[in-house]
Symmetry: C2
Subunit: 338 residues, 2 copies
């Protein structure tokens, strides 16, 4: 595979991304000073098509890249173009105004959508990668408690507990001390084990209440609300160029399914800095024409993922740069708030 052939592929990808129209040999020869004629480009194109990097929508049309072609472009040809300093400054300013975790996530997802003109998805810090900062127990009525769990990433979870007996103010203080002694600073992944022993550590008269508490706590740390995600920029799906061959329907539906979104953001265990999944690499039927660019974020270690979702014909260098920059800055913020 010739150097010039690679240049031709790059030209096709770049032109197609910016014009959204199949690109012909003449256009490539003229607009990118390759120093060869259109006929030569045609020969190279025939080769690239044979090799599966580009294709024709129909005979006698220009060429468009295949997923395989985009893959080669991303891996070997695209030079990531960093954000402008103005953009960079805007990111910093906008994110540093966030007042709490919810706000950080909300702002992040909007920012990503706006920077990339695509649909953005941000996962809330995953509970099983966080640790307990504090557990609070509040009496709502004498036999009804509210427990509030605050994690090191700033997530707050609350649950109600019905206790078998009425509890005095002192009892509550005691329970609060107990659970915090045991759980504070511990990783949530380890919490179930600790919680199992919780009741046995309480004084006999409190044991029943403690085990009711433990039951709800356990539910909280393995809760199904664990994987929350925020979405923004759905309107970008209707941008002229972002038109998907099918209808928007399945995409819009998928965007409301947490399960699907989590699948798109990637395995929870992946610690890769940045991932680009192109077309059918996504393994979900409705996303055959979709590219997903994701990055992990977190203070030190990865606690969640964020990403952007758009048509395979996207501006890869720009999108990758934006996702990476935002993920880095959010990580910094979480680091500071620890």
């Amino acid at each position: 595979m010739d150097d010039r052939k690679l240049e031709v592929l790059r030209a096709i990808v770049e032109d197609y991304v910016s014009t959204q129209e199949p690109v012909g040999s003449k256009a490539v020869a003229q607009r990118h000073a390759l120093g060869v004629s259109a006929a030569t480009v045609r020969n190279d194109m025939a080769y690239l098509e044979e090799a599966g990097y580009i294709q024709q929508p129909h005979t006698s049309a220009g060429r468009i890249p295949t997923p395989k072609g985009y893959r080669l472009f991303v891996d070997r040809l695209g030079k990531i173009k960093p954000l402008s300093t103005a953009e960079r400054r805007a990111v910093h300013r906008f994110l540093s105004e966030a007042i709490d975790l919810d706000d950080v996530v909300t702002r992040t997802v909007r920012l990503l959508a706006q920077l990339t003109h695509q649909v953005a998805v941000v996962q809330y810090p995953s509970l099983n990668r966080s640790s307990v900062r504090h557990l609070e127990i509040v009496a709502v009525t004498p036999a009804r408690l509210m427990i509030v769990m605050i994690t090191d990433t700033g997530r707050v979870e609350q649950r109600y507990v019905e206790t078998p007996a009425e509890l005095s103010e002192d009892h509550i203080l005691e329970l609060r001390r107990l659970v915090n002694e045991q759980l504070q600073g511990k990783a949530l992944a380890d919490a179930p084990r600790i919680i199992a022993d919780l009741a046995s550590l309480a004084r006999p008269e409190l044991r029943d209440s403690a085990s009711a508490l433990a039951r709800v706590l356990l539910e909280t740390v393995v809760s199904r609300t664990e994987e929350r995600v925020a979405v923004a920029g759905a309107a970008n799906l209707t941008r002229p160029g972002n038109f998907f061959s099918g209808s928007l329907r399945p995409i819009l539906e998928a965007l409301e399914e947490e399960v699907v979104l989590m699948q798109l953001l990637g395995r929870a265990d992946s610690n890769a800095l940045l991932t680009v999944r192109i077309g059918d690499e996504n393994e979900i039927d409705d996303f055959r024409e979709t590219t997903v660019v994701t990055a992990g974020y977190g203070p030190g270690s990865v606690v969640g993922h964020m990403g952007v979702l758009g048509p395979t014909r996207m501006d890869y260098p720009g999108t990758i740069a934006a996702v990476r920059a935002v993920a880095r800055y959010v990580s910094e913020i979480l680091e500071q708030n620890r």
Copy 2:
């Protein structure tokens, strides 16, 4: 205005809503046993058109209702059709599984979207219609506090406070007692007044910290995150019949703008049980072809609104019944959790 003319209007609205196609005189005469011929119906139609209740998309097409026509239908003709018992049971089961306020809102908005096949919008309980259940103060570091406010509707707000001096465990206990004594059970609308005096009630050595705390508390109760809303069912915009004459773009954009959504849900001060705003009654340009059905909800008094948004050609009786039923049941749940 003749009784039969009203029947003709009802027939037109019902047929148009179900078929999405202009309805002609023949269809009306046949399908709705009016006992008159098509020619007679034509005369009535001419009258209804003259009066502004229906219109022709073009000469020699059938008629479709105007917003004014829908309005008359809703006010005088539509008999609300209650949910089936199966639906009713599904609503109860689905909502009663909610584990916290967030979950209630999320489930509600999905339920509404699913029941009505439209876009659903639910406002979180408005802070200034709630009261304080409990305030929690947690030391993150000796000079950094986290305050968590829990309202009677179950909303949780958190903020960080940097204190001018390091505080001992006892100091924190004291501050916690102070703010709870002053604020517990008080309406948030009254809170600013109370907070203003907070610092003066603290012991001299805590006064600086108390006023730092008060500043953040004040910010919290008048916070701009006050009006949170949840949206679901955007995919329903792409249903065949829900096709808006323009593109989806402006609608999708509006759905991500809290300000616009709040405007659609209606003035915060409206206590009307149920509101239907048809077409240009919405006073927002992008929603000229949209109907919004909203209801207030809350334990006893209204603390927020929920609603459904769809094309003017919607199933009014069904939608109204669904919104009303869900709003009632959510109110019950909030009542129980108090």
